[in-house]
Amino acid sequence: MRIRAQASGDKATVRVLMSHEMESGQRKDAAGKLVPAWYIQEVTASLNGKQVLAAEWGPAVSKNPFMQFAIKGAKAGDKVAVTWKDNKGDTRTDEATVS
């Protein structure tokens, strides 16, 4: 996961690029069988350990998803952590420092 958090004024803009297949469950493989859905369902973000954002995603979010949001009151040096969980139960957390 690549996280960029940039402070501007009284907020910090966070851009996250995750690495995930985001299989929609609509596609068929060469044998004509449906490829089972495999996508990120829950995304959370926290600032200095306190959760500030929860999001739910469907399979219609693009492969290797991008997300942008802004945290109020975040300053340079604060820690932003982003966690995702997919429908197979896999999860990943990454952290970045606001610059």
Partner: protein, 151 residues
């Protein structure tokens, strides 16, 4: 630049924090399967807790007029309304309309951007759901020249 080792260490700390602290504020944030299975914009909004749906100038949806590649369509949703609880991004003609649902808290701006897959040209919606169940939407047409679903 962080080394991989540092990143891993920090990740473990954060994961520990998440596991122990618990966040009552987001206790309702379990995956809303009904909303994501809904076929139409109205059904999805209703499943997310919207009682009424009205068009509003205070809600904005951003996206391209023409998307060359339906697999990656940049969409943004934002609102200036106070007291918004959830912000939804929907694509009307996708197999399931709801793309993403963001829970808005006091410490976050009601302004999100992500990328969505679109099967065909369609109207895209941003829906803001208030604490009292009122919902406001904005829509925009996006033409797709190459579909992102199926194959």
């Amino acid at each position: 630049m962080q080394t991989r080792r540092e990143t891993l260490k920090q990740s473990a700390v954060v994961a520990g924090l998440l596991a122990t602290a618990g966040f009552p504020q987001f206790a309702q944030a379990a995956f809303n399967k009904v909303a994501f299975d809904a076929k139409s914009v109205q059904d999805a909004a209703k499943a997310a807790g919207a009682a009424s749906l009205a068009e509003s100038k205070d809600v904005t949806i951003t996206g391209p007029d023409i998307a060359e590649n339906g697999a990656v369509v940049p969409l943004g949703a934002s609102t200036t309304l106070a007291g918004v609880k959830q912000l939804l991004v929907l694509v009307e003609k996708n197999p399931a309309a709801l793309v993403a649902l963001f829970h808005v808290s006091d410490s976050i701006e009601a302004n999100f951007a992500t990328r969505a897959k679109m099967g065909q040209s369609s109207d895209v919606y941003a829906v803001a759901i208030m604490a009292d169940g009122k919902a406001f939407f904005a829509k925009k047409e996006v033409k797709v020249t190459l579909g992102g679903c199926g194959g």
